[in-house]
Amino acid sequence: MYERLPGRGITMKGKSFLYVSDQHLLLLQENLVRQTYRRFAYSDIVSFQLHPNQRQRVALFGFGSVLVLFGVLIAVTPIEFKVVFAVLLALALVGFVMEILRGPRCRVWLSTAVGECELPSLGRVRLAERVLGRLISRVESAQGHLNPDQLRQLWPGRVGVQAP
């Protein structure tokens, strides 16, 4: 039985969700009439990577521009149009505030021995760290923990590498 993890990603292929079961992680992609599933056994997961990015700033800039535009339009248009622009301004303001509240954006990748896969539903750093915390505990219960000596072997050519 699957349990859904928080987060929802929207990609060109449709919506994306993550589910966990006892043995594997399920990446579900859904468009209007079709679901596609990818399963990753906890014992096969090699790594997770979290890359924060600047998309939140871009989104805030977009919302800010819209707010300014509607503010100007409210100031210069006749009274009958002011109500329409005020509603649009309120919507943009809600988007602006929500964007700030949800925190910085990121992209998360999962890798196995045969390839990498992006997890689009983990699009915010705070959410991703929370969900990855759950996933890491499941992966480590299936594989065990990577000790510092093993981790050092990942950089054999680099002298003096300090394992975390």
Partner: protein
Amino acid sequence: MSIYCARCALPLPPKAFQDNGFSRCVCGDLVHAWAFPAVFRGVAVGRNANARLESEASCFYHPMSRAEVPCARCGRLLCNVCDIPIGGEHCCAVCFETGAKSTVAKYATELVLQDSLNLLLAAGPLVLGLFLWWMIPITAPLALYRVFRHFNAPLGPVPRTRVRHVIAGILATLQLLSLGLLIAWGVTRAMTPTSSPTPAPGVTSEKDLGD
């Protein structure tokens, strides 16, 4: 053996694996990574098929290979290459592929959502009524038929209810009822004899004209 950045495909810096935060990759991207012991395991190597001796049974798909197990679904003999072990069973590729409707549904990689399709058929002409209302006589019976046809179809491995089927069925029934009422009203109206119009005040009747 290393773990590579998903953006630039260069090895990640060791600091990226520290618990306390992010590190900058060679490509300039901030990254935080977690590695697991599977990194040392590598890719599992598949089994080879054994050559068949003259007295031995052959694989259904590879006549030169020795049969190792029968498929639990179709009974075809399979060699090591064709055998797909699933949850203690052995299955051939064909049964694995077509098994989405049976017990191997939990291993399906793709599923057409019949309930969403039905809902789309039933609600689409209503939502886009201005352009697609003329399709209702086609889509409503089709949606209703599909609701009955696919009501018990698998909903996929993740939790999902049949509420879309129910909504689609209700919408299609209402559309058909409305359509029936519209047709009945039209027929009744067509069959009702039209009464002769009363002459407007000031207009003289034919009788008066004759006199």
